[in-house]
Amino acid sequence: MLGEKDSFAKSLCWNCHSEVGGEYFCDRCIKIQPAPSQFDYFQRFGLPRHLTIDLQDLERRFHELSRKFHPDFFQRGSDQEKAISLENSALLNTAYRTLRDPILRVGYLICLEEGAVKDIPAKAPPDLLEEILELQETLEEYKQVGETASKKRTDLRKVLLAEQERIGSKEMVFEKELFSLFEEWDRMQDQRLLEKDGQQAHRRSLLQRMKDLLSARTYLRTVLQDMNEGLREHHP
């Protein structure tokens, strides 16, 4: 996985057929080139595969690349140039949307590292499973009692609101813990160059921890969303 950039086969310019030296434009005829398909979102911005990202720097890079690729600037170009600019621009925008959000960023990184294409599934954290099941029963019960005010309804609502707060703070805890691993990951990425023994195991365990935290957080979010809807729709 090291030195990915060097291992890319040099491609030929679609226009003048010379070897493309520059990243996105042919050195010789200055025509726009499709971004190498192997490029991941980090590489698109010329960034290392780090989880901590300076958002202002990312925005600056995004604007700079947008000025290079945006279809507005290829309006009078050939169909080929238009198509390339559209594709490059679309990928750049998707990459930016993913990287600027820490949650989407870490999810993307895990998929990238593990070679999986699909999203990380939401999974209930084992120690909260029982509580959440109970909570969902309460929510159902609350929906059943109907719109009319009653003591039972008020009580259920009180329970649910308290639970909502509890789950919400739990979610925050997961999120914080997840973010605290970002630095650890970045440090390890930097040290990887030394290829110490045991790195692979550490790397795998770190990825697994982040993945578990992310799954749990996503799960709690869905639960919270259900609760929000339930409480809103059945509010007298």
Binding site: H63, H70, Q75, A90, V117
Partner: protein
């Protein structure tokens, strides 16, 4: 190179602007009017668009249509209440495509919008003195794919290459950015004739990045008018015992009167609605601004939710907004301004005319595309999430709302049965969990797959939303690496073949329009020559032989007969004949006048 114009195709009015050096300018007509009322009328001869059509709203309600924009990209089921008082009859051309019945014509909304586009195109051509073939056209930010596609179709039918569809609030922001050098986080509140949009942008060093957008495509000045009109109708019924609901002329008359009253109340606290009723009676009603406000307050409140949603989507609170800009005629209402102020905790701005600012911005975008302005770039977003139907009718989002455009998503598809030769994908737009609650966009069918066991084919589908906010779909067979053929069935709107046919028909229309104009001109000319000839004949009768007189009389009869027909060429033919037949008479008359003129003059006085 010919100029790329910017067109604001509005619900109530349309405008065209161009870049005059470094300044965008709106093009006015000979009378100095910049607004072209988005009204279309037809008489038995030709199409009438703009101010003249607007004047026919009351006199010819059954063949005059307004607010066509509200029908764009919609099916009949989508327009209920809002078109309740439409004087023209609406039907469906095919499921998902409305057609408007005007006299003997049946036109779809894109064809009607094309007539407006042609009118503004012609205005621009007259002003610029050259052909206009390319344009940037604006749409409400909250327009979905079908509505955008319908607008693009309208351009094609009008003979305009629509280089870009731009969102109205963002266009307005471009104009402000260029002319007022605005920077920072800007909220654009756009309440027009038929639609409401809110867009939040970050403007930094020439980059106009839309952070989020929201809106309501069924909310605008028209709805306020309707509210006020229903109130007046009820009052008239109580006062005079007259139910005017079914009377198209009265409905239009009342609609126009209340609209004027509403406008006056933006500047005054009190006005009077005066409506003469056919029975000879007159409905008079003083109306206070506060009364109007309490009548429409709930409608204006409908803009609050989308503003909050847009703020939330941009992860901002009202304090983060540096400036609020107002766009659209309805933002002249003090109630609207107060509401905006409540939402954003600050006084909104409107230094540029809210009717013109969108067209000006469209001209700016046109100049960017032409390569004129190079340091400005607009990065807009898609207003609605795009997704596909999953098993059980769920919506699987591929591209979330507020994604910067262009954007794309790739998805792998395969088959469920052995030997399956095609795969269907149904694409939706919207924010709900189930596809049935969202808007169906199109069905795509990927055909001619190699017969393989179930699950073996690997079709990679690339969903791209381009900078216009319009979906493009491409597919590749990953096994063979070949492009996969796709058949597109739009759920709303016209097929490509429909549009091509309409372009052809519009040429025929153009021809019949021209024929109609030629006929009018020929008849006018014939009337003039007849008047002259008959007078000459009276004066010159003693100067010519009866034989000659009879010949001229015959020609006159022939020309009069030709005038009754509608062949302008035939009329011209007889005008020429009559012209020739009267040459001798004219000469004799000239001679005699000369003699009469000379009779009383001395030789020395002659020139």
């Amino acid at each position: 190179m010919s100029t790329i114009v910017g067109i604001d195709l509005g619900t109530t009015n349309s405008l065209v602007a161009y870049m005059d050096g470094k300044e965008p300018k709106v093009i006015a007509d000979r009378e100095g009017r910049t607004l072209v009322p988005s009204v279309i009328s037809v008489d038995d001869q030709s199409w009438i668009v703009g101010e003249q059509a607007r004047q026919r709203l009351i006199t010819h309600p059954k063949t005059t249509v307004y607010s066509v924009k509200r029908l764009m990209g919609k099916g009949l089921a989508d327009v209920g209440e809002e078109c309740k008082y439409f004087p023209v009859f609406l039907s469906e051309k095919q499921p998902g495509v409305i057609q408007v019945e005007m006299g003997k014509y049946r036109l779809t909304p894109p064809e009607l919008s094309a007539l407006i586009l042609k009118e503004v195109k012609q205005r621009a051509e007259e002003f610029l003195g050259s052909a206009v073939t390319q344009a940037v056209v604006t749409v409400p930010a909250y327009f979905n794919d079908s509505q955008r596609q319908a607008t693009k179709d309208a351009g094609r039918i009008a003979g305009l290459d629509v280089l870009r569809i731009v969102n109205e609030p963002t266009a307005a922001c471009l104009a402000y950015g260029l002319q007022k050098k605005k920077q920072g986080v800007i909220a654009v509140y756009d309440l027009g004739g038929g639609t409401f949009d809110i867009s939040i942008l970050k403007v930094k060093e020439g980059i106009f990045e839309v952070l989020s957008t929201n809106g309501n495509t069924h909310l605008g000045g028209d709805d306020l008018d309707q509210r006020l009109m229903e109130w007046v109708l009820r009052e008239i019924e109580q006062e005079f015992g007259l139910d005017l609901q079914k009377n198209a002329e009265s409905i239009q008359q009342i609609r126009l009167e209340v609209e004027k009253a509403k406008r006056r109340l933006s500047g005054e606290d009190l006005t009077e609605i005066v409506i003469p009723i056919k029975t000879g009676a007159v409905y008079r009603r003083p109306l206070k601004r506060v009364e109007l406000e309490s009548l429409v307050n709930d409608l204006i409140d409908l803009t609050i939710g989308p503003c909050r949603q847009a703020l939330g989507d941009a992860h901002l609170s009202p304090q983060d907004i540096d400036e609020v800009v107002l766009v659209g005629g309805s933002t002249r209402m003090p109630l609207v301004r107060r509401t905006v102020q409540e939402i954003f905790h600050q006084e909104p701005h409107c230094e540029i005319n809210p009717d013109e600012v969108v067209a000006l911005g469209a001209a700016v975008q046109a100049d960017i595309l032409a390569g004129g302005i190079q340091n400005m770039l607009l990065l807009d977003v898609t207003p609605l999430s795009l997704g596909i139907e999953t098993m059980g009718g769920g919506m699987s989002v591929l591209i979330p709302r507020n994604s910067t455009l262009p954007t794309n998503a790739k998805e792998l598809f395969t088959t469920f049965a052995d030997g399956q030769r095609s795969v269907d994908i149904h694409v939706y737009q919207g924010e709900r969990e189930l596809v049935k609650d969202n808007r169906s966009l199109s069905k795509f069918q990927f055909r001619d797959l190699d017969p393989l066991p179930a699950g073996m084919p690997r079709i990679e589908v690339n969903f791209t939303i381009d900078a216009n906010g319009i979906l493009q779909v491409g597919a590749k067979d990953l096994r063979s690496g070949k492009e996969q053929s796709v058949e597109v069935k739009p759920s709303y709107g016209l097929s490509d073949e429909d549009v091509t046919r309409m372009i052809e028909e519009s040429f025929t229309f153009a021809k019949s329009d021209m024929d109609a104009r030629s006929l009018i001109e020929a008849r006018n000319e014939a009337a003039t020559i007849l008047r002259h000839t008959e007078r000459a004949l009276k004066q010159g009768e003693p100067l010519i032989e009866p034989e000659e007189r009879n010949r001229i009389q015959e020609q006159i009869t022939a020309l009069k007969k030709a005038m009754e027909g509608d062949n302008h060429r035939l009329i011209r033919e007889w005008i020429d004949q009559l012209d020739k037949a009267t040459i001798h008479l004219a000469e004799r008359l000239m001679d005699s006048t000369l003699q009469i003129g000379l009779k009383d003059k001395k030789l020395s006085e002659l020139p």
